[in-house]
Amino acid sequence: MDQLSLAAFDYDVAHLASALVLLAAFGLLYQRRLPGMINLFALQSAALGTAAAWQAWMQDATQLYATAAIVWTLKAGAVPVGLHWLIRRLHSTRTVETVLGIGPTMLAGVGLIALAVLMVTPIGATRSALTREELALALSVILLGLLIMITRRHAVSQVIGFMCIENGVTLAVVGVKGMPLVVEMSVAFSVMVACILFGIFFFHIRERFDTLDLHFLESFRGEDR
Amino acid sequence: MSGVLFQIVQFALTAALAPLVTGLVRRVKARLYGRIGPSPLQPYRDLWRLLRKEPASAQTASPLFFASPAVAFVALWLASGLIPTFTTDLALASAADLIALVALLALARFATALGGLDVGTAFGGIGASRDMMIAALAEPAILMVIFTLSLIAGSTGLIRIIGFMLGGGVGLEISLSLALIALLMIAIAENGRIPIDNPATHLELTMVHEAMVLEYSGRHLVLVEAAQMLKLLLYLSLVGAIFAPWGIAETDTPDGLMAGLVLYLMKLAVGAAGLGLFEVAIAKMRVFRATEFLGGALLLALLATIFRLIAETI
């Protein structure tokens, strides 16, 4: 086997992992049941971890292994378990009422991916194909995550959306060659996620982000109208 | 030097003739009504009688009440002295142009109105307020007439205007005739003649000027009356000087002056007769119709200006 085909193979693996991440994001967009969403998120994180590890091996950058480890243990492991426990603990309804119908949401998702590709195409000239497509995938995952956040009403599903954004960012981070401080950033991120989960749990959010507690929201909405 | 002399003559002349003109008008009206009427000299007698009477006035009257007739009289006398009647060689005629003349009339009115307000009666207020309203409408009109004249003659100075008119450079102009009509209407309004006001009425609610001076008596009334007479004379001689300047001497040769004097007297007589005729012919209008009357005058004067401007443009 000559270098070239080997390189091609590398790319394919990397692609596969990243594509899985995006696919999972789409699945999250489609899935309307919380446990399903959590499992999909776990899958996405696992794929991300794989991608990170693969990149670590390709660029033989040790800190990426650390990242992969964090992703696997925290996002693919601890967080989903925690979330499962949480929804049981909050007795929250199993199905999420979405703001938009699933169909329109999917369409919007497709549109976002198209936009992402559109944004990335002009870059091609100077970059190697790998990073460009990695970038397109990461960008779409981020946008989809944001879309999830604003189309789902349930707190947990929105957390998942947020973490989906984060996965997208991490995907981009591991995609680019030799980016320093990656570990620090992912740690900082995890702190943030932890805080959010803590917040949800601590402040007893029953239904949605936008209500901590329904009856005082009437009295206070930033300011009395 | 001669200018000063003629100026003095002029002042004396106007002061002396004013009652006569009023008398003439009354006489003409009486005759037209079919009465014999008082002699034209009657006003002199009236004034003299009033002068000798003991003046009675309200306790509430302030010094201004007594001063205002004098101020009004002096202002009008001064104004009437500024109009070249028989000669243009007047010392003061060059010291004030038509605008100043109008301002002097306004000053007289200002003083009279204050006098009317002074005692603090209802009628004084009515008179002052209505008189000022009429004046407020008449003044723009007369200023527009002045515009027209100065557009034609190139100056607001009476001497120049008369000179220009006498120079014969001016033919029969639409704008001039319009200005004349406007000026006549204003003169009627300003002198409180029918149809705006009735100098002979003493029915309170129809009075304008009379209501204002209701409180005056004795020598103060003399000044008031004399001022009215002067005003009439002033307008007559103004119309005469501008629109019938014939005979006004521009160079002081004795016979020229003589002719000017005689012609001036004739002009006055004609004016008085005309006024009498006009007054007999029409009826007094309601006070608020006066605005329409004066609005018409203003419009005519404005038309005169515009015609003039168009004539200049073409």
Partner: protein, 479 residues
């Protein structure tokens, strides 16, 4: 380097120390002392700048911001020493809250300074994220439901913004990496600016969009401003002062650094129009929002949004004059706005309410405080002879000839804001005095207030030459 290390270590150390101090008054004093110390250090930093390393950077741009930060932190610490004590006494704060507060105060100080002196876009990001988390906790300090909701709103929106900003940061690195090669070098401001020509404009544009929305959230630009009013209104007043006066500036600083990179790269043309759009939008939006406000602190929070919009507009407009104006505005605004919050804190404590309707006749009941407020609000409204007047003069005069279509709405926005401020100011400062708890205003509120106003006056009438020179240099770099 040592000085720089001190600058970062003193607040951090103080934070750790304060976390264990139970005695509140002593803690307050210690807090002031620590701030004063950092201020002194930053002044020393001015005198001889440390050399630029691959992690640390002190140049014309951040030097004055560092000093400004430490200074305002100091005066605010003085203010909060009196204010927070009274809050606790009044029972508005739970027991032991002050310990957390003081520790976090120093931590925030350190985080902001770190963001300023970092010569690395990643480090900057971490610092700003830390600052966000710290302020979230500070906002929720009083544990009332309102404060908790405000903190929650702040936290969620802030986190999303931060995430987007990180993606932008990664993109910038992606653009730099092929030119500079990997490693810290490719994340250092200095290197990014020096070698920006080779960067791919497409990547930079995309990056800037994310940075603008991400850090823009922290700057408080409409429509991503939503966290700001509630956080300002519900947090303790010293925190509002620091948020408005410093944290917004820090985020804007980050944004401007990136704009410098784009300007240096030459090819990328996007920043200007985007910033103008957001800036103008924020100005008009906040100006209109001012009219319906009933809560005094939220009122001035919106005024902060308005001014952030003004600055963003100026920088978006670009050109030496507008940039100079923007930089001056950053300094003047942080001075005056924090001064206003000092006054507001004093007033709300004296009158026992934050509702504008319940506040009236301060100049009658407390002349010193009242007239101080009048001066400060007049200054924030852009009246002479304060610094904000100078900057707005420069903005308007440079906006009108270059883009009348922009100058007119900009001027209109300024007017709308002025009208709203005057309306409320007259109601609060004049008229019959409402009853107050104490006849005398508290010195810890009044003295810092007048100090800030005095400095704003100097900024308007007599801008120190060196400072002007720095502004000029930075203004040129900003393109």
């Amino acid at each position: 380097m040592t000085v720089l290390a001190l600058l970062l270590l003193v607040p951090t150390g103080a934070a750790v120390l304060l976390a264990f101090v139970r005695e509140d008054t002593f803690a307050a004093l210690l807090n002031v002392a620590a701030c004063a110390g950092t201020f002194a250090i930053s002044c020393a930093l001015l005198l001889d700048r440390p050399p630029v390393t691959e992690l640390w950077l002190v140049d014309d741009f951040n030097a004055y911001l560092i000093v400004l930060t430490t200074f305002v932190m100091t005066t605010t610490a003085v203010f909060s020493a009196g204010y927070m004590a009274r809050e606790v006494a009044a029972g508005h704060l739970p027991r032991g809250a002050l310990r957390v507060y003081h520790a976090l105060y120093q931590a925030l100080n350190g985080a902001m300074l770190l963001a300023m002196v970092a010569n690395n876009i990643g480090l900057l990001w971490v610092a700003i994220e830390a600052a966000t988390l710290i302020t979230v906790v500070m906002v929720s300090l009083s544990r009332t439901r309102e404060s908790i909701e405000a903190a929650w709103k702040y936290f969620i929106l802030g986190s999303v913004g931060i995430a987007l900003a990180l993606f932008g940061t990664v993109l910038v690195y992606l653009a730099a990496q092929p030119v500079i090669g990997g490693g810290l070098e490719a994340m250092a401001w200095t290197a990014l600016q020096a070698r920006a020509q080779g960067f791919s404009p497409a990547v930079l544009d995309l990056a800037f969009v994310f940075l603008l929305v991400g850090y823009g959230t922290k700057v408080g630009l409409a429509p991503v401003h939503a966290w700001l009013p509630d956080a300002h209104a519900e947090g303790p007043t010293p925190v509002s002062a620091v948020l408005s006066g410093l944290l917004l500036n820090t985020a804007l600083y980050a944004l401007l650094r990136f704009k410098m990179v784009l300007a240096a790269s030459g090819a990328a043309a996007t920043p200007g129009p985007l910033m103008i759009a957001l800036g103008l939008g924020s100005l008009l939006f906040a100006g209109l929002m001012l009219y319906r406000r009933r809560d005094l602190k939220r009122f001035f929070a919106y005024s902060s949004i308005e001014h952030m919009g003004i600055m963003t507009f100026a920088f978006g407009l670009g050109g030496v004059l507008a940039n100079f104006a923007g930089l001056l505005h950053m300094a003047a605004h942080s001075l005056v706005k924090s001064a206003i919050f000092f006054a507001v804190g004093g007033i709300t404590q004296l009158k026992g309410t934050r509702q504008i309707a319940g506040l009236s006749g301060i100049t009658v009941s407390h002349p010193a405080l009242g007239w101080g407020l009048v001066l400060a609000v007049v200054a924030i409204a852009g009246a002479p002879p304060f610094g904000i007047f100078t900057s707005e003069f420069l903005m308007v005069t440079s906006a009108f000839p270059r883009a009348p279509a922009l100058g007119v709405p900009f001027a209109l926005g300024l007017l709308i804001g002025l009208a709203a401020l005057a309306l409320r100011l007259q109601h609060i400062a004049f008229g019959a005095a409402t009853p107050s708890t104490s006849p005398r205003a508290h010195a810890t509120a009044v003295v810092p207030l007048y100090v800030h106003v005095g400095l704003a006056l100097i900024a308007g009438l007599w801008l120190p030459a060196t400072l002007a020179a720095w502004f000029g240099a930075v203004a040129r770099l900003l393109g």
